[in-house]
Symmetry: C2
Subunit: 475 residues, 2 copies
């Protein structure tokens, strides 16, 4: 952290703790400079930063003042999805979202792309160069169906961080987490089966279920503790559920980490009703706290949990390298992997393996975690100052996605269309429900470094929401 | 072609045409040397080569003689599969085959791997190096669902060679041809549907059908002209067939190219019964004759034909880059692609695009075509001299696979097991049938340059077959 960032953080904490009250004048630049033994320009930078975050306001010729105190936005409420199995819809809205990610003018706060600008990722490409130079002949042939051994070894090491001791035979490499989930669903389910999911939940997973003719049972989910076990239990009593799919660590879209005791309770429930758990851990390594949370998989001793993950969120989605730990479904998973894509490209697998083996991966993760946490704080401040009251905001514990619940009457599909016309992309809530719920919700991506442009985009979002609210009130 | 190869070819032709009769003495090394104006050692190399191929035999101190004339082996008969829809089996045998490809001692004549040692492929890796150096930032993000535009442009150019004028929007990039077929089947069929295939046909396709609960109707197929249109018509009258899948150009496993008139007739049949055609063109660019055969797709003006292909047979399967031309099923194909793998890795796509754009691809293809044709001739000669009578052999017109039909009573599963113990891998015929037919057939891969080792392997195969035949006759 630079000097000015350190100072800014200190001041932000004092404001947060109420040591400087709303509307109060802050120390002059000169006095702070001598108090902290830093240069005038460092203090000025710190103040600029706090101003950008909306925490303080300058007044001409009188210095800086604490911005009017705004309460922390409330959390979204426990969700209340339709309580019966439904077929998934909304493919068109998702295609619109996915297609928009390639417009260069757009400020993309709607997608699932991580920050790709961190310098700690560069050794990945150097490793790939080296592999092409030295191992050209290994790159050409058909790979082992389960994936390159060198990579499975490294993935086994990573899985230790989440609490699982695995052998290379327990791991099958996939073309991203999407293929891992896809293969898991086809290995476990038949068309017509019912699968329970968190609600809201990742649109890609729901589209997989739709594509294979599997029905979705959306389960009420709390924005801080995750899927409601009480609601899930009731659902399992009522419906012939085959599996539950969830993102229990650094959830997409809400950002929560399910507490360990609840993970354990979920596993017990799955055993009682003899259902499979498909654990999507694609964000699990991006928890703000260290060490990373333990996976549900780590609690499982009977191969009931199938873990799916990838390097798309921690390295680069363009690599298409992921993995699955198929537990008791290994044979069927291999068959589904074979018929889906045969095997995975070799050069990308070897590059990732070398990147991990040579220590670059953990360095990169450390940096990403700090980066995302800082961005989240910046976003939170901005939303607090720029968004109208009544907007509920989730409090992510990792990853780079947050979930907003607007007053019931607002329509995020309209709002996102208006914003798109102004080159700001958000994800409307509807795509996170199988049944078209969450029209008043939206998801924001805070992966990219907070800057002028982002600040402007958030202001714009706040304005559009305020405008819609006012229009409703007037109507 | 080198001088000695040229001379060897000339002599082989003369033997073939009967200008030199079986048992006849060939000209001395010295006289051939002066007749053709080449060195003594060139003639000697040519004679060695013909000897390796089993066409001539040396006799101590008397020179070379034409080997005892063996008739060209007969063609396999029109196949007679079960004439009703069945469920596919035999996954275990395929896994055995696929796993064996990684044993380094094995002489692998059973797999589908192309020759990877041609120097004309090297620019591919240089292009990849360059791309990593100069376009690092383009490689990281999520790709367009349909694939990288630069590659789709090049694929559109290639498709012209097969007779189709397409735009980049008509093409979707996939992770190999396997994903292309998989996506096509899921876009067109529902579980329980019936799909017609050539019999014998590629095991990967049949496993896809099995994986999605689609039934297979195996249609009698001629080893030179392809699927029997008469049998197909009868089948279409009798069963509710949704689609037909075929490898019409350089078939796997038989090597035929369906004549253009039959391709046209097939399309008319498909129109009459309103079924889809999934055309697997993965070997189409490897036809021995130039220009390459036209695709069925090129005859289709209503989007009824879905073409699937990849660079696995012409470049390197480890790249996992293929494509699909989805015709009227574009939206469903994109959905299936999205839910299966999301998108395809970027760095491999860009490398292939640059390789084609810079002229390396057509150079490489030209070399491969010659290489495979030469290998095929070497194999054919060897089989003719080393295999017992009564073995029928297909006559490939392209690609690197040939199909052998042994006398009815022989069991290629046993034979392949015996051969494996001696480090020779072949593909038993059963995996090319949904219903376990072709136990007396096998497929050989002649992709790798013919050498001592291959000659030994073929001799071994011939011996084991002869041994089984003798045992049968004795029993
Ligand atoms: C929760 C979740 N699972 C899976 C995926 C897909 O990951 P990949 O890009 O590795 O296929 C995503 C991507 O957005 C995701 O958010
Ligand atoms: C006829 C046929 N189609 C498709 C494939 C699969 O190709 P790919 O490796 O590109 O997935 C093969 C590979 O053996 C094949 O022989």
């Amino acid at each position: 952290m630079t000097r000015y960032e350190h100072l800014a953080r200190l001041l932000a904490e004092r404001i947060e703790q109420g040591l400087y009250q709303s509307g109060e004048r802050l120390p002059s630049v000169r006095s702070l400079s001598s108090e902290h033994g830093v240069s005038i320009s460092t203090v000025q930078q710190a103040y600029n930063h706090l101003e950008d975050r909306g925490l303080i306001q300058p007044r001409p010729r009188s210095g800086y003042f604490v911005a009017p105190r705004r309460a922390q936005p409330p959390l979204p409420r426990l969700t209340q999805p339709v309580q019966r199995p439904v077929e998934v819809t909304h493919w068109d809205a998702i295609r619109e979202l996915l297609d928009a990610r390639h417009s260069p003018e757009m400020i993309a706060l709607g997608g699932g792309t991580p920050d790709l600008t961190q310098p700690t990722i560069r050794p990945l490409w150097r490793e790939m160069q080296r592999i092409i130079q030295h191992e050209e002949t290994c790159l050409s042939g058909y790979d082992d169906m389960a994936g390159t051994l060198a990579l499975r070894q490294q993935v086994a090491r990573l899985m230790l961080d989440g609490g699982s001791a695995l052998t290379t035979d327990d791991i099958v490499i996939t073309s991203g987490c999407q293929e891992a989930i896809s293969v898991a669903v086809r290995a476990i389910c038949q068309p017509g089966d019912v699968v329970a999911v968190e609600s809201p939940s990742f649109h890609g997973t729901m589209q997989i279920l739709r594509g294979y003719g599997v029905k979705v049972l959306e389960v009420p989910t709390d924005s801080q503790s995750g899927i409601s076990l009480e609601a899930l239990e009731m659902a399992l009593e009522q419906w012939p559920v085959k599996a539950v799919i969830l993102v229990a660590s650094c959830n997409n879209p809400q950002g929560f980490i399910m507490p360990p005791a609840r993970k354990q309770a979920l596993l017990s429930l799955a055993r009682r009703f003899d259902i499979a758990i498909i654990e999507d851990d694609v964000y699990g390594e991006l928890a703000f706290s260290y060490p990373r949370p333990e996976t549900i998989k780590s609690l499982d001793h009977e191969g009931r949990v199938v873990l799916c993950s990838s390097f798309s969120k921690t390295l680069a989605p363009g690599l298409r390298v992921g993995w699955i730990v198929p537990g008791r479904w290994r044979d069927r998973v291999l068959h589904m992997k074979y018929i889906g894509t045969g095997s995975t490209a070799v050069v990308t697998q070897l590059a990732v393996a070398a990147f991990i083996r040579n220590g670059h991966y953990h360095r990169h993760l450390r940096r990403l975690r700090q980066h995302y946490q800082r961005n989240y704080e910046d976003f939170r401040c901005r939303i607090r100052s720029d968004f109208p009251c009544g907007v509920c905001v989730s409090r992510p514990q990792g990853g780079f996605l947050m979930w907003l619940e607007l007053p019931e009457s607002l329509d995020s599909v309209c709002i996102s269309r208006e914003l798109r016309a102004q080159q700001v992309q958000i994800a409307p809530g509807t795509i996170f429900s199988a049944s078209g719920k969450y029209r008043n919700c939206l998801r924001l991506n805070y992966a990219s470094a907070f800057n002028e442009q982002t600040a402007r985009a958030l202001r714009l979002i706040g304005n559009v929401i305020a405008h819609h609210l006012a229009a409703q009130a007037g109507a």
